[in-house]
Structures are given as C-alpha cells and as structure tokens.
C-alpha cells in the first residue's frame, strides 16, 4: 500500500478546485503541525499562527506539488521554513515581545488579542477532550487498544501491526476502526455538548 495514497487523493481534488478536500488535510495534520512548530516557538498561540500561515502557503503552492514526496513531508518543510522565518523576523522586530512574554500572560498575542485556544472555555474543552479520549482508550478491550496505540503512537503500518499482533491485516483494520468508533462515540458527546467547532468547518 502506498504510504500517501489517501492524502494524494485529497491533494488531487484540491488541485482540481475542491477546497473542501483541503479542509480534510488541515483537519488531519493541524495538531501535528502545531506540535512541530512548537519546537521553534514555545508559545502555543504563536505556534498556531505559524501553522495557519504554513497551511495557507501550502494551499497556494499546491499547484506545484507533483507528489514526488509524501504530502506531509512537503507540508513539514513548509512549516519548518515558516517557523524559522517567523523566529528571525520576531528577533528583528523592535517590539520587545520576548522580554515581556516571561512576565505577562502568554495568552495574548502581539496585538494583545486573546487566542481562542487560550480562552478559559478553550482550555477546559481541550482538557475535557483529553480526559474523555484517555478514559475511552482505557475502557477498550486489550486487542483494540494495542492496535490503535501501535498505529497512532508508534506509527506502524497495518502490515507491521498484523505481524506484531500475529493476525491478518484485515483484522488490524477492523480493530483500529472499532477502537476509533468506541472512542469517537464518547468524544462526539463532548464536541456536541461543547463549542462544536469541528462542525463549523463543514
């Protein structure tokens, strides 16, 4: 199985003018990208800004993406360069942002606006999401939990998981799907009862 076949399907749709397919790519990689950018900037709000900028740059550069490398590899490079440029320009900026940051609330950006993710509601929701998912994972049967953890934490392919768990690839696919479904049932309640931001994207 090609390592990037699903992403490539979405990329081709974006290249043909389907913006909705790009939403799916952003939804899939936004957390990874923010985490990546946070190696360069400590402030989560700034990392989100840089990740946003990287996604927009990627969208604009997508006509030149030929699929020679995996989409995430390509996106990764854009994000790294965006983060490095942001750090350089911030260091050159006359605004004493870094100096102030240690003494002030990090929830404010350079214009003094509070980021959505840093609002009390956002923080509570994030904590609730995290605890809900963790509780759901703990409640999973052993084989489902092992399969989803090997996939998400270790990044193993279905074939590698099948070898590790001594079962067919089809069983691995089924186990991962059932694990996700079980967690998602609990998670959906949080999203629907919370801010419901994920649905806003549709």
């Amino acid at each position: 199985m090609s390592a990037d076949v699903s992403d490539l399907s979405l990329v081709r749709r974006v290249q043909r003018g389907d913006k909705g397919a790009f939403d799916a790519l952003v939804l899939k990689y936004q957390h990874k990208l923010v985490k990546l950018v946070m190696r360069y900037v400590r402030n989560p709000a700034e990392a989100e800004d840089i990740a946003q900028e990287a996604f927009i740059k990627a969208y604009r550069a997508l006509p030149q993406f030929r699929g020679d490398s995996a989409f995430y590899t390509w996106l990764y490079r854009i994000a790294i360069n965006t983060a490095k440029n942001a750090v350089v320009s911030r260091d050159r900026s006359p605004v004493e942002y870094d100096l102030d940051r240690s003494n002030t609330d990090e929830s404010y950006d350079m214009q003094g606006r509070m980021k959505d993710s840093e609002t009390p509601e956002g923080l509570v929701l994030t904590d609730e999401i995290r605890s809900t998912v963790n509780a759901a994972i703990d409640a999973l049967p052993e084989d489902l939990r092992t399969a989803i953890v090997l996939r998400e934490l270790e990044g193993l392919s279905y074939e590698e998981i099948a070898a590790a768990m001594a079962c067919p690839v089809g069983t691995v696919r089924s186990r991962i799907f059932r694990a996700r479904e079980a967690i998602d049932r609990r998670l959906r309640e949080v999203f629907e009862g919370g801010l419901g931001r994920a649905e806003e994207l549709g």
Binding site: V5, S6, R16, D23, H31, I129, F177, L201, G202
Partner: protein, 226 residues
C-alpha cells in the same frame, strides 16, 4: 454502502491504508459531507491525544482559521495543477515527427558510411592505423625473421609507403574485403566495392590475386607474396 462500512473505509483512509480506487470515491464524499469531515477531524483528535501532544488545541482552532482565510482565495484550477501522474495530452504530430527523425538519422548514416568508403576520406584513418601498428612491430618482426630464416617468403605489409596515407593498394584491400564479407549484406558490399574500384584508376579490371588474409595474430595484416 452502509454507514459502518463507510466509517471503516474512512478509518483506513485516515491511516493511508485504503486502496487507491476506494480513496477517490471517499475523498469526494469527505470533501463535501460535513458529518464525515467532522468524524475525520475527531479521528485526528484521537491520534493527538494518544501521542500526548501537549499544548495543542484539540478543538481544531487552526482548521477553522485556515478555512476562513482561504474562503476568499480563488479555487485552484486544473490548468494550474500538473500532477506527475497526470496523462500527457495526445499530440497527433508526435508519431510523424518520430518517423521523420528516424529517416533523417538513417540518411545521415548512409551518407557518412559512403564517405568512409572513399579512399583518402575519413576512412583512411583505419588503414593508417594498421600501417602504424605494422611499422611499430616491424623491428621486432624483422629480428625474428632473421633469426628464423634468412629469406622470408612473406612479410607484414606495408612497412612504409611514400604514396599516400592509404598505404594498402585498393585491389588488395578489395580482395581482403571480398574475403571477409561473404556473409555481409549484398547492397552494402556492392557499394563499398564499387567505390573502391572507381577510385583506383587502372585497377578495376585487375583479377583478384590468390592472397589469403592473414589469420591468428596477424588479423590486421595482409600477407603479400614476394
């Protein structure tokens, strides 16, 4: 397709483990159906929590902002995208151009071969090489001949000639070619021989001599009776 099968496909697609044919169909639904998209987003959240991505807003703040920012952007066009796997449009003139190119190469090759066959032309390099090789080997050969027999009845020819760079007489060369081209293509053999005969005055009617080309180590030399 029932919902469970669809969700199973979505999960496999999220992991890049869905066959390409199924991906195309599901990608279309994913980009249009808000419920499927929301589920897709929650799959990403589950992964982020398992990887303990601390400091990351799990509600998908970035996705909402990117979507809003791109709403004013123009959609990408087919012309702008040039995927590597895309089909190259058919051009009717390409086969004709290919045939024309091949014919041109063939014509140039024939002309070049004919010019090679003419004495004094570029083809004179090869006999000159034979002469030079023979000349270099001449002292050793002479010493060997003297040791073996005082009156040798054959020798490696030609050691030195003052006539031209084409040292081998055309008739001898023609005989050599005839002896070596018994199985070559008749047309090319005729062209080469006729070129040789025409360019050597007074030799075209000379009967072929009963020389046998040297064999073994003297593959490039011609034995000449004294």
């Amino acid at each position: 397709m029932n919902n469970e099968e669809l969700d199973s496909q979505l999960s496999a697609m999220f992991d890049n483990e869905l066959p390409p044919g199924e991906c195309e169909l599901l990608a279309r639904r994913l980009s249009r159906d808000p419920d499927i998209k929301a589920r897709w987003g929650r799959y990403a959240v589950i992964g982020a929590v398992i990887r303990a991505e601390r400091g990351v807003a799990l509600e998908g703040i970035v996705a909402g902002r990117v979507s809003a920012a791109l709403s004013s952007e123009p959609a990408l066009s087919v012309d702008a995208a040039q995927p590597s796997g895309s089909r190259i449009p058919y051009r009717w003139w390409q086969p004709i151009a290919g045939v024309g190119l091949a014919a041109g190469v063939a014509a140039v090759s024939i002309l070049w071969l004919r010019s090679q066959a003419l004495p004094g032309g570029p083809g004179a390099v090869a006999p000159a090489f034979v002469v030079r090789t023979a000349a270099l080997a001449a002292p050793a050969a002479q010493a060997l001949q003297n040791a073996i027999s005082p009156a040798p009845d054959s020798f490696v020819v030609p050691p030195v000639s003052q006539r031209s760079t084409m040292m081998v007489p055309a008739t001898e060369l023609a005989d050599y070619v005839v002896a070596h081209s018994a199985f070559s293509w008749p047309v090319s053999r005729g062209n080469l021989l006729s070129a040789l005969m025409v360019n050597e005055p007074g030799t075209s009617s000379t009967p072929a001599r009963s020389e046998q080309p040297a064999s073994g180590v003297q593959g490039n030399a011609i034995q000449n009776p004294k």
